[in-house]
Amino acid sequence: MSQISSNGLKTDSKRLFKDQFAKYGVMTGGVLVLCALLLIFFYLLYVVKPVFNAAHIEPRSSVSTMANKYVAVGIEEQTEIAFGLTDKGMVDFYNVKGSGTGKLITSVDANIDDNIIAFSSSAPHQGQYAYLNEHGEITVIKPSFRVAFPNDVRTLTPVITYPFGEQPTPALDLPAGEARNILSRGEKTNFAFATDENAIGIVYKTANDDVIFSRLESEEDMFTDELSWTSYQSDLNFVTGTIQQLLISPDASRLFVVTDKHIYVANSRDGEDVQLLYTVDVGRNAATITTAKLLAGANSLMVGYSDGYIGQWFETNSADGRAFIQSRHFQMAVDTEDKAVVAIYPEFYRRTFTAVTKSGEANIFHTTSEAELWQGQLVDQAILDFEFSPRSNAIVIYSAKGLSVFKIENEHPEVSWSGLWQEVWYEGYPEADYIWQSSSASDDFESKFSLVPISFGTLKAAMYAMMFAVPIGLAAAVYTAYFMAPSVRKIVKPTVEIMEALPTVILGFLAGLWLAPVIEEHLPGVVLLLILLPLSVFITAFIWHNLPTKVRNKVPAGWDSIILLPIVVIVGWTSFALSPLVELWLFNGNTRLFITNDLGITFDQRNSLIVGIAMGFAVIPTIFSIAEDAVFSVPKTLSSGSLALGATQWQTLVKVVLLTASPGIFSAVMMGLGRAVGETMIVLMATGNTPIMDWSIFEGMRTLSANIAVEMPESEVGSSHYRILFLAAFVLFIFTFFFNTIAEFVRQRLREKYSSL
């Protein structure tokens, strides 16, 4: 007996355990849904967040013991080896990473004769350095790193290469005994060079303040492989004033001569005929120009002043032809008394630059985002040279203390919240504008990340779709729920459900390949349809009203929409059939030409009208089914009461039913809007996907969602572009979250209200 009962208890506890187990298991499953939503939210945020991180710099290593004085320093791509060049043509390579940090690896003599009078470095990405000797001859060297994999271990071997031969090349035709300028740090400004594949451009200031430009062009002997040089030289006699900086663009096509108050820009494509393009007075009261530098891409000239002001200048189109203008400025935010900008150092490919003061205070800016990325003192001495590594993940600084290497985390300087949502003045543009242009073929391209045009496109597409979908969807819902015969309703509702289930890729394909050409051909027909359709419904209604009662009674109430079916088909067909006639009559046979030529409106075949119709078609069922539900669930007692008091059907509908159901209708429209905003395939296929900002119905747009679909597969993981696309997805998420939550909240309230009725 006792055994049985204990057995029973055993099973009971087992069953209870199972019950409890099921309870918690199911609960976990339910909460997982919430987790999924939160996961999406936080993951998107997690990917986006680094875009807004500030730059971060920390010291990595330093090399202090040096016998030589350097005129330029640099660091290679892997940030393992830093190097310094002396004024005598010696290049010292130091290990700055891993074991043996701070050790001199090798010291290479570039074999340049010792009568060197000037030295200069090229744009950072070219990595070249030039020595000019007293005979006016130039030697170009380039520190390079050979990679080898002995025993599967990567080793770098520093070497020096000579892109234009080891022999000095005659460059300047100097008067004898003229230029005995002795090289020193401060006078790096009086010589600049740039190299092309087979040309060198040199600009040089002589002791009597003459500026000479020389362009060397090489030709290779077919048999001996020897280079023969031809030199074209001209005097830049248009320059007056104290020269602060000579600059030349990396392709040697533009010369910039910066004096203390002026900038001279000249075209130097032709070495014998250098043409002055612009002379700009850049004086700012008491402040004088102290330095100037070209940014990556060589479009922008950054000009630093004695009061810490830095201006950005570039060439652009203006009302009266090309002009050299200032777009924006930065202000050194350093605590010292002397804010004068002594030097500006650009990055390799991006628009980041560092400005330093005499006392060694540094300030890092980015032009596009107008962001001040970092400010502080890296070394407590005057900075003699400052270079970014090619990947911009390290900095090497040369000061009296020696070489210091810093690690810099500055992944996304080009992105700022204001840059995404406000007008930005990009290089080469006449004014600030909203532009989305994320990538280009060149490395030093200035990415244009403005979310405004694509957000605008999203709203535009949604607006046109709603203009089409809201009237039809709501009207159809009201009729179906309130007037339609139950037998017809049984067919109509599933049909609309099928409409909702149609894949959007098919709607998009039909819109792009079938509807767009049809509508382009029959534009007058579309207008005609808009007029004729309501008119014919009115006329039908009126005729029906005046038909003998006998005939009317043959059709049960609530069949109106079925009666209208053939009418709509006939009217639709007629409008399109009449379209060519109207076209001939009004628009000389070609509406499209009329629109583009006579009205001057741009016409795209895949335009907002197409998107409106196609996406409207996709949104109608969403609006319809929710609104229909809301109207249908209005208690019958309300409408019966109204009718009993003598109101007509229509009055009851407008004053009682719709009013009661209005929160539900609102939520239907919100849901529809949410769907229209996020729809991808239809806009992708039915528009031209150009990110323009124009409300015109005859032009296309690019939406956030289509933009993601187009650009995501080719964006580099972790890049600014990748993260901004995630941001676009996040914006979409928040947008639809907002609309859906409002809609659902309103619906829940409504349901509670009805249940109390």
Binding site: G30, V33, A541, S561, L564, M685, A709
Partner: protein, 549 residues
């Protein structure tokens, strides 16, 4: 009239008009797709036109009439075409598919009706389907089979020769895909194995030898197969057919490129029906050719079905459990309300956002970690850290989760409370009641949810573009190589196929009928699934209504 206006009747009619517009657009759209999609397979007559242009050139055009349209005469005159003898405001022009891509600039040609001097459908005109350069139209002059020139009874000889060539080509293809494919697959696995040993530091000379031996063995086998493959290909090249094309020139077509021949002008109605059926089956069961613009869509069908099935396996348990929690366990607490809002939001979040999430989270983060842990030998080449069918299924599972939840919950709410109470009163625990009574009764509702989820997933394209779909997958996700199911592979999808062929293909005009046919296939499947789901749901409602009384 005034009182009629006042009664509001016209406005009621207007709302009725909105319903009519919706109905007409749905039905019209379905009919449009059906007519365009199905007519593609019908063997249309091949015309021979004598054309005499206004500038005095005359030539012959052979091809199928592809499209007709009316052009305003004015526009033609503006375009610089002279008209002396044509009256009327509009001129008809025909778009003719002339094929013969290697001999003409464009395989589609517009001809103005007034320029056609003669038009007929001569008997003996053949259309060749080829694996390269599209269709060829012309008169068969002779068949060269096994070196002999056959002029008598050439149709039969041609058919025989094509059958032989197709068979040989199939043999070659099978050999290439199965035997040679397996060898390549194993060679790749051997490479990974060696790399794995290397990484583990257990690569001994013995193992190297072993791997080397196996590799040598495989290479030997491979050479055998390769010989056989070339033999097949050479044999297929043996025959050719001499055809007179529309320029009047004799062209020799090698048999190994010909897939099929037909003489539509000589077919009677039943012959055409037979050919129609054959073309449809080829569309469904063949691989695509010529950058997807010709051939069938089998890999896309397979990919879609496979991905959707995988997704269904993932989404069903989660969806059902969540629905049971919401309906059976959760009270009316704040948490429940929040979960409901989460469900609605999951349904409302744009599908592309799921794609972005799937790419970042599943593919790069999750897949990347899997690669680090389990496939270090393949690095830096990704295994799971790249878009693939598994990630697509997972992404779509989250996307369709709300569909299953909503549908299951609706089913649960329709089960009368008395049944639950009865079970509980008889001493069953809540879990037992659920398992024995509630879930079996709700299973049709779960089925409905599943069907709707499958229909939704089958039509979704935007997220798949990011997490695993490709325009051309060289291998199916399931094949004869161990482990047979390759969840890391990319796949083809019907919806993406429509987008890709319709918008990214080099010859949109030629590909358009194929896109319509693919659309029709997809729409048919989705509409059928939806109608089934609606049917089950309605049936269920009736049943529960009966239960309540």
């Amino acid at each position: 009239m005034k009182s009629w206006f006042k009664s509001g009747a016209p406005w009621i009619w207007m709302t009725a008009g909105a319903v009519s517009i919706s109905l007409i657009s749905v039905i019209g759209l379905l009919l449009l797709i059906a007519s365009r999609g199905l007519s593609y397979f019908w063997p249309s007559d091949i015309y021979q036109f004598g054309v005499n242009t206004q500038t005095g050139q005359s030539y012959t055009v052979i091809g199928e009439i592809y499209d007709r349209e009316l052009v305003p005469t004015q526009r033609l005159i503006e375009a610089g075409i002279k008209f002396d003898n044509i009256q009327g405001e509009e001129v008809e022009r025909l778009l003719v598919k002339t094929g013969n891509r290697e001999f003409v600039e464009l395989d589609f040609q517009w001809i103005l009706s007034p320029e056609i001097t003669q038009s007929d459908t001569p008997s003996g005109l053949a259309v060749f389907e080829r694996s390269k350069n599209g269709n060829f139209y012309g008169f068969v002059e002779a068949v060269i089979a096994d070196g002999k020139r056959i002029v008598e009874n050439k149709e039969a000889a041609l058919e025989q020769a094509i059958e032989r060539a197709v068979e040989l080509n199939d043999l070659a293809l099978d050999l290439q895909n199965d035997e040679i494919g397996a060898i390549n697959y194993e060679l790749e696995r051997l490479r990974l194995k060696q790399r794995k040993y290397e990484l583990e530091g257990t690569l001994t000379a013995e193992k190297v030898q072993e791997l080397y031996d196996r590799r040598a063995e495989l290479n030997l086998e491979y050479r055998e197969y390769e010989k056989q493959l070339f033999a097949y290909r050479n044999q297929a090249k043996r025959d050719e057919v001499i055809v007179k094309d529309m320029r009047g020139e004799l062209v020799s077509l090698p048999m190994n490129y010909i897939l099929d021949v037909a003489f539509p002008n000589d077919m009677n109605f039943f012959g055409k029906v037979a050919r129609y059926g054959k073309q449809i089956s080829k569309f469904i069961f063949d691989d695509p050719r010529e950058a997807n613009t010709e051939g069938g869509v089998f890999p896309a069908i397979f990919g879609t079905v496979f991905m959707v099935m995988l997704m269904a396996v993932i989404v069903t348990p989660f969806g059902v459990i969540a629905a049971i929690y919401l309906h059976e366990y959760a009270g009316n607490s704040a948490v429940t309300k929040i979960i409901r809002i989460a469900v609605i939001n999951l349904a409302g979040v744009p599908s592309i956002v799921y794609g972005v999430f799937g790419l970042g989270f599943f593919v790069y983060m999750f897949g990347g970690s899997l690669d680090q842990l389990f496939y270090p030998e393949a690095l830096p080449g990704p295994t799971f850290g790249t878009p693939g069918v598994m990630w697509s299924a997972l992404t779509l599972a989250i996307l369709t989760l709300p569909v299953v939840i909503v549908s299951t919950e609706e089913g649960l709410s329709r089960i009368p409370g008395s049944l639950r109470q009865g079970s509980l009163a008889l001493g069953a625990t809540k879990a037992e009641t659920l398992w024995r009574i509630v879930i079996p009764m709700a299973s049709p509702a779960i089925m409905t949810g599943l069907i709707l989820a499958v229909a939704r997933a089958a039509g979704e394209v935007a997220p798949l573009m990011l997490v695993g779909v490709v325009k051309m997958a060289p291998t199916l996700p399931v094949d004869g190589n161990f482990p047979f199911v390759h969840l890391d592979r990319k796949f083809m999808h019907l919806g993406f196929h429509i987008y890709d062929v319709g918008f990214q293909s080099p010859n949109v005009e030629a590909a358009r009928p194929l896109v319509y046919a693919t659309s029709f296939l997809l729409v048919t499947v989705i509409v059928a699934l939806n109608i089934t789901a609606i049917g089950i749901r309605n049936h269920l409602r009736e049943k529960y209504k009966a239960l309540e009384h």
